[in-house]
Symmetry: C2
């Protein structure tokens, strides 16, 4: 007596179900004791993050960059003239480990996009500056990046964009990360 119902729902290939809906449906069948409501919200945040990341990485690639390199160059660029920060400043802005930052700076220096010089007031420290090439590149890359981002949200109405931004801010506070 439940055979037809099983077949009907099985594998969840119904109407407007997205990937997250299908996963939740599977969990409900496999572990009906679990409340998967939060998983739906958090899962969609993850999927949206990936959906945004891929096109942005493609844009970066057009300029010989990836998200990691873009991140460092953009941090220096938006800091304003003279586009120079210490390694520690970059660490605070970018939330990666110090070893990761060393690696990123090595590669950017090899590309001629940044230059290290000793910090005049602290010999343990280094100042990292955009080279002229680095400045020219990030200025072009960020224009393309902004354009890509505009396209990614173009399908949302202005009102939806504003509401989504508000709710995301609230969610960030609720998650304890301001």
């Amino acid at each position: 007596m439940c055979g037809s119902l099983d077949v009907k729902i099985n594998t969840g290939k119904n109407d407007g179900m997205d990937h997250v809906d299908k996963v939740l449906e599977q969990w409900r069948r496999a572990r009906p004791d679990l409340d998967v409501g939060p998983m739906g919200l958090i899962g969609r945040v993850g999927r949206l993050y990936l959906a945004y990341l891929k096109p942005m990485e493609q844009t970066f690639a057009r300029f010989g960059l990836n998200a990691a390199k873009f991140d460092v160059l953009a941090t220096l660029r938006r800091a304003g003239t003279p586009h120079e920060l210490s390694v520690g400043d970059l660490l605070k802005s970018t939330m990666v480990s110090s070893g990761t930052m060393t690696n990123r700076l090595d590669r950017l220096a090899a590309d001629g996009l940044i230059a290290r010089r000793p910090h005049p007031d602290d010999s343990r420290s280094f100042l990292i500056a955009l080279t002229p090439d680095g400045l020219a590149l990030i200025d072009r890359a960020v224009e393309a990046h902004v354009q890509t981002q505009a396209e990614l949200v173009a399908g949302l109405s202005a009102e939806d964009q504003a509401q989504l931004t508000t709710l995301l801010s609230r969610a960030l506070k609720a998650a304890g990360s301001n």
Copy 2:
């Protein structure tokens, strides 16, 4: 005459500004020609993703797992009895490269959490099954995971959670990833 204004706004350490607000403010000063509206939305999605990911990774670590391993075990678990899928099935569900999946399966097999066996109908293929240890572990881990996720969104009202889920779904469709 703009000196005092400059100082007042400089470095953006005002009221309720979060990290994304500060970045946008820096861009507005450094590149006033750019429209950074979409960057605010996309930036918050990224920050929220990270804010969710860190506590979830800590939960996984309590069970000797990381997000990659949890992902595979959970896919097998929610597929239902006999908790067995081909490598290709796992690839479709998890969106990683085939080399990555091989690596994940090697490590899970070394941990005794999954077992490979030849596919009875196709000698190119393998069936991957949870071992009894793997099943017991993922059943405990997913309970803790659901609990962690509940805590992460607990600061949002039920209405905000529902509205956010709706808008995220809309944003996913708008970004061309359903």
